[in-house]
C-alpha cells in the first residue's frame, strides 16, 4: 500500500447554515454556494492537506457545524 500525503485535490465541504459573502476573502480559492436547504457548500481546488485543514480550522473557529468533507478528485476538472 502506498502511503500518500495527498497533493492538490478538489474538495467539497458542506456546513450547516448560510455563510455570508463577507467571508469570501477568508476562504480563498473556494466557491461558496448557499443552498436552499439552509446549508452552504464550499468547493474548490485545495493545494494540499495543510490548506484543507486551514479551511476546516476557519469553519471550526466560526462555530458552523461541519456536515461533510468529500474528496472529489486529484488535479483540476
Amino acid at each position: 500500500m502506498e502511503h500518500k500525503i495527498a497533493g492538490e485535490a478538489f474538495y467539497e465541504i458542506r456546513i450547516e447554515g448560510h455563510l455570508g459573502p463577507e467571508w469570501a476573502g477568508w476562504f480563498e480559492e473556494l466557491t461558496i454556494t448557499r443552498a436552499p436547504d439552509g446549508t452552504t457548500l464550499l468547493a474548490g481546488m485545495v493545494a494540499d492537506q495543510a490548506a484543507l485543514h486551514g479551511h476546516l480550522a476557519r469553519i471550526r473557529d466560526l462555530a458552523m457545524p461541519l456536515l461533510t468533507v468529500a474528496y472529489q478528485r486529484a488535479r483540476g476538472p
Partner: protein
C-alpha cells in the same frame, strides 16, 4: 495638614510569561543544510507575510532555526580597522536600518486567548526591539482588554522604529479564537513597514490573505517545498543518520517516505537496526499496511534496549526534560522489583545525550543543552505506547511525580509551579495541585506573584477549592488584590462557611477572614470596620510570624491615617515594615513603607519619608523601584527640586509600566508629573499628563482616580482664574453645599479657594470652618494621648493657633 488620598494597591499585573516560548530553538549541527529554502525565506523584504504551512514532521521549525542562525552570522559587520570618518554616521545608520531582529513566539492552545497572545507578542517584540515604548500593553491591563488599541499602538510604534523585525509565530495552527485571528488580520492590514510576519503551522492560518496574495505580498512554503529532494535525502541518510545504503535502497526509501523528513528519519532509525538486508527491509516496509508513523515509531521504540525503552516511556509525558527531572520521574525503574533488577541504571543525562547523538527525536531547547524535548510526532507515539504498555495508572503516577519535582523546584523559580500544576491537572490530580499550592501561597504572594496565583487557583475545580477553606480564602485575597471585589467576596464567604463547618488544623486560617476584611475595609476608607477586624485578626493569629501580621498592621495604619491620627498610623506602618522585612515579605515591605512615607509626608517630615521609601528597594527597574522612585519624586517636588523630581518621576513611571500593571500607581505618577509640569511653567504639558491619565482611568473604570484627576484639573483652573470650569466641576462632583467630609479635603480646599476668588466668602468660610474643626478635634485627641511626651508643648501651641483661626472664621460668618 492636607490629607491626600492614598493610592491603594490594586495590583493588576498580567500573568507572567514563560520565557522558553520566546526563545528560538537553537540550530542543530549535523543536519542537512537547506540553503535554497533559507534563501527563499531571506526574500522577506519583498513581501509582508511569509507562511510555512505543512503537516508535522516537515522541518518547519528546523528550517526557521537555520534561517535565524544564518541571518545572525551574516549580520555581523566585518570590522578590520577604524571606521572611515566620512560617512561613518550614514554607514552606522544604514547598518541600523538594515539591522534585522527576530522576535520568536512558540504558540500552544492556551495562547488562544487574545490578551495572553498579544502580551506574548509584545514581549517577543521587546526582546527584538527593546526601544519599543514600555506602555504598549496598557490596553491589556483592563478587565475588558482592548485588543484593537494594542494592535494599533504596535503598528504605530513599529512605523517609528528604524530597525526591521521579523516576528515568527510558530505552531499557529493551535490558535482557534476568531477575535484573535481578526486582530492579527488587522495588524497585517496596517502593514507597518518595519514588521514582517512569519506564520508557521500544520495548516494554513485561517486569515483573510487573498488581498495580500493578489498583490504579491504573500510568500508561502508548503509541504511540497519542504520535502527532501533526492540529494537532500542522500545527504540526510549518510551525513545525519550515518547510514550507508545502496542507491536502490535509497530510492526505495525516497519513494516510500516521499521526502517527508520525519518519516525518513524514522525509517532510517528502523533501518539502522536492520543492517542485514537493507533492500529487503525497505521493500518489506512498503508492504506494511499500517500508517508509516504508527508502524515505524512503535518498531523503533520496541527495538531499543530495555533501559532506553523504559526511559523513553517514562519521560514521554514531559513537555520538556532535564537530567534531574528525568532521574526523579524514572526513580521507580531505577529500583529492583519483583520482576527483576533495576531497568534503568545510567544517569538520565547520559541517556539523553545518547538519544540526541543517535538522532532519536530528542531536540535541545537551549544552547547549553540543559533542557530537551521530544519531537511532537515521536512524543505522540511514545505516549500512545506508554498508554498501551503500562496503562492509565502508570500515566497518572508519572504525572504526579513530575508535578512533585516541579513543585519542589519552584522555590527557585515560581513559574515552575505552573508546570507542576499542569502535570497535576493532566494526571487529574487536582487535589495534588491544591496541596502543592497551599503551603506556597503566602510566600508566593509575598514575592508579588499575585497574577500567577490567580491563574493557578482558577484552574482548579470549584469543588476542590471549596473543600479547602484555607485555600479558598487565599483565592479571595488575591482576587481582591486584583480588583475583582465581587468574586473575592464570594470566595471569602465560601471559605468562612467551610471554616464554620470544620475548623482548620492550621490556627492561622481562623484569622484570615478578619485579616482580609480589614484590608477590604480600607478601600472603603471605613476606619471603624478596619480596626475592628484588624483587632480580631490579631487576636486569632498564632504568635509565630507570617505575612498576615504585616497585612493587619498595614490595615491598622491606614485606618489611623484616615482618622488623622498620624502618630498611630506611623507606628503601625513601621511595625508592618519591620515584620515584612523579617519574613522576607518583599511585597508587604513595599506597601508598608510606601504608606509610611505618605504619612510622613502628611507630617511634613520629608527626610523620614525618604528613608521609608529607600527601604523598599535599591532602585532599578522592578515594581519596587517604581514605587520607590515615584515616592521620592513627590518628596523632591515638595522640596522644590523640580529637575530631580521630574527625573525620578519619569524613571518610576517607566519601571511601573514595565511591570505591566499597577494602574493606580501609574495614575499617581501621571498626576505628579502634571503638577511638576505646572510648577515648571508648562501648563500645556500638565494638561497632557492629565488627559493621558484620564484615558487610562476611564478605560480601566477607576472612578476614584477619575475624581482625583478632575479635582487636580479644577485646582489648576482656580489658579488660572477659570472659575466657570471650577463651578462645573464642583457641581459634577456633588460638592456644592455638601456636608464637610474631611475625606474629601483636597476637593474642598480647591472649592474653597474658588469660592473665595468668586467673592463667595460665606461658602469659603463654611468649608474652612468645617475642616478646621476637624483638625482641631484630631489635634486635641493627639494632645490627650501625648500627655507625657515632650511634644506636648509644641502640640499645645498648634492647638492654640488652630483655635484662634477657627474663632476668626466663626466670627466672619
Amino acid at each position: 495638614m492636607t490629607m491626600e488620598r492614598l493610592a491603594p494597591t490594586a495590583a493588576n499585573s498580567v500573568t507572567p510569561l514563560i520565557a522558553a516560548k520566546l526563545i528560538a530553538p537553537p540550530a542543530r549541527a549535523g543536519l542537512v543544510a537547506r540553503p535554497g529554502l533559507v534563501a527563499r525565506l531571506g526574500g522577506w523584504r519583498d513581501t509582508a507575510v511569509t507562511i510555512l504551512s505543512a503537516p508535522a514532521g516537515f522541518g518547519k521549525t528546523t528550517l526557521l532555526s537555520e534561517w535565524i542562525a544564518a541571518a545572525h552570522s551574516a549580520g555581523r559587520p566585518a570590522q578590520s580597522g577604524p571606521a572611515p570618518t566620512q560617512g561613518a554616521e550614514e554607514a552606522a545608520g544604514a547598518l541600523a536600518s538594515n539591522a534585522l531582529h527576530f522576535a520568536w513566539l512558540s504558540l500552544d492552545a492556551e495562547d488562544s486567548d487574545p490578551a495572553r497572545f498579544w502580551s506574548y507578542v509584545l514581549a517577543a517584540m521587546r526582546r527584538a526591539a527593546p526601544e519599543l515604548p514600555a506602555d504598549l500593553g496598557a490596553p491589556l491591563w483592563a478587565p475588558q482588554p482592548q485588543i484593537d488599541a494594542v494592535v494599533a499602538a504596535l503598528a504605530n510604534a513599529m512605523a517609528a522604529l528604524p530597525a526591521a523585525v521579523v516576528l515568527v509565530l510558530d505552531d499557529y495552527h493551535t490558535i482557534s479564537n476568531l477575535e484573535l485571528h481578526r486582530s492579527l488580520a488587522a495588524l497585517i492590514d496596517h502593514r507597518p513597514p518595519g514588521l514582517h510576519l512569519v506564520l508557521a503551522g500544520r495548516a494554513d492560518p485561517p486569515l483573510p490573505l487573498a488581498r495580500l496574495r493578489a498583490r504579491g505580498l504573500l510568500q508561502t512554503l508548503r509541504a511540497d517545498d519542504l520535502r527532501f529532494s533526492a540529494d537532500e535525502t542522500a545527504a540526510f541518510l549518510s551525513q545525519t543518520m550515518g547510514l550507508e545504503l545502496s542507491a536502490a535502497a535509497r530510492e526505495a526509501l525516497e519513494r516510500y517516505t516521499e521526502g517527508w523528513p520525519a518519516g525518513l528519519q524514522l525509517a532510517a532509525l528502523w533501518l539502522r537496526d536492520h543492517p542485514e538486508a537493507a533492500e529487503q527491509s525497505v521493500t518489506a516496509l512498503a508492504d506494511e499496511d499500517r500508517y508509516l508513523i504508527e508502524f515505524l515509531a512503535e518498531e523503533v521504540i520496541l527495538r531499543q534496549s530495555p533501559e532506553v525503552q523504559r526511559f523513553l516511556l517514562d519521560t514521554a509525558l514531559l513537555d520538556r526534560m532535564c537530567p534531574e527531572l528525568c532521574d526523579y520521574v524514572t526513580a521507580d525503574a531505577r529500583r529492583p522489583s519483583d520482576e527483576g533488577p533495576a531497568l534503568i541504571t545510567r544517569p538520565s543525562g547520559e541517556i539523553i545525550e545518547e538519544l540526541e547523538r543517535r538522532n532519536l527525536f530528542v531536540v535541545p531547547l537551549d544552547v547549553r543543552h540543559e533542557w530537551h524535548r521530544y519531537h511532537n510526532l515521536f512524543g505522540d507515539a511514545l505516549r500512545r505506547q506508554l498508554g498501551r504498555q503500562r496503562g492509565p495508572h502508570a500515566v497518572a503516577r508519572l504525572h504526579r511525580r513530575a508535578a512533585a519535582w516541579f513543585a519542589a523546584a519552584s522555590t527557585e523559580d515560581a513559574a515552575l509551579l505552573g508546570e507542576a500544576l499542569r502535570h497535576a491537572s493532566a494526571g487529574k490530580a487536582y487535589d495534588l495541585g491544591a496541596d502543592l499550592i497551599l503551603p506556597r501561597a503566602d510566600q508566593l504572594g509575598a514575592q508579588g506573584h499575585i497574577g500567577e496565583l490567580i491563574v493557578w487557583l482558577s484552574a482548579l475545580p470549584e469543588a476542590v477549592l471549596s473543600a479547602r477553606p484555607a485555600l479558598a480564602m487565599r483565592y479571595a485575597w488575591v482576587l481582591f488584590l486584583h480588583g475583582r471585589q465581587g468574586e473575592a467576596a464570594r470566595w471569602l464567604a465560601i471559605g468562612e462557611a467551610g471554616l464554620a463547618e470544620r475548623p482548620d488544623p492550621d490556627p492561622l486560617t481562623a484569622a484570615l477572614p478578619d485579616a482580609i476584611k480589614a484590608t477590604m475595609a480600607t478601600t472603603r476608607h471605613d476606619d471603624a470596620a478596619t480596626l475592628f477586624h484588624a483587632d480580631r485578626a490579631a487576636a486569632l493569629l498564632p504568635p509565630d510570624e507570617s505575612v498576615w501580621q504585616s497585612t493587619i498592621e498595614i490595615a491598622r495604619g491606614l485606618a489611623h491615617h484616615v482618622r488623622g491620627e498620624a502618630r498611630e498610623a506611623a507606628t503601625a506602618l513601621q511595625r508592618a515594615a519591620d515584620l515584612a522585612a523579617r519574613t522576607g515579605n518583599d511585597y508587604g515591605n513595599m506597601i508598608s513603607n510606601w504608606y509610611l512615607a505618605q504619612v510622613r509626608l502628611g507630617q511634613a517630615r520629608l527626610d523620614e519619608a525618604a528613608r521609608a521609601l529607600r527601604r523598599i528597594a535599591d532602585g532599578g527597574n522592578s515594581i519596587y523601584g517604581g514605587y520607590r522612585d515615584t515616592g521620592l519624586a513627590r518628596i523632591a517636588y515638595d522640596r522644590d527640586d523640580l529637575p530631580a523630581a521630574r527625573a525620578l518621576a519619569m524613571g518610576g513611571l517607566q519601571a511601573l509600566e514595565a511591570t505591566g500593571g499597577q494602574p493606580r500607581m501609574i495614575l499617581y505618577a501621571h498626576c505628579l508629573l502634571a503638577r511638576l509640569a505646572r510648577a515648571s511653567g508648562d501648563p500645556a504639558a500638565a494638561l497632557t499628563w492629565l488627559d493621558a491619565g484620564e484615558a487610562i482611568a476611564q478605560r480601566l473604570d477607576l472612578s476614584e482616580d477619575l475624581e482625583i484627576i478632575a479635582e487636580l484639573r479644577a485646582s489648576f483652573a482656580v489658579a488660572d482664574g477659570d472659575l466657570d470650569e471650577v463651578d462645573e466641576w464642583a457641581e459634577a462632583a456633588g460638592l456644592v453645599d455638601a456636608e464637610v467630609d474631611v475625606r474629601r479635603e483636597a476637593d474642598l480646599l480647591t472649592l474653597a479657594r474658588a469660592q473665595a476668588s468668586r467673592g463667595r466668602a460665606d461658602k469659603a468660610l463654611r468649608i474652612a470652618g468645617g475642616l478646621l474643626a476637624h483638625a482641631e478635634a484630631a489635634l486635641k485627641r493627639q494632645c490627650d494621648v501625648d500627655r507625657h511626651s515632650g511634644n506636648r508643648a509644641a502640640l499645645a501651641d498648634r492647638l492654640e493657633q488652630l483655635e484662634a483661626a477657627h474663632k476668626k472664621v466663626r466670627s466672619a460668618l
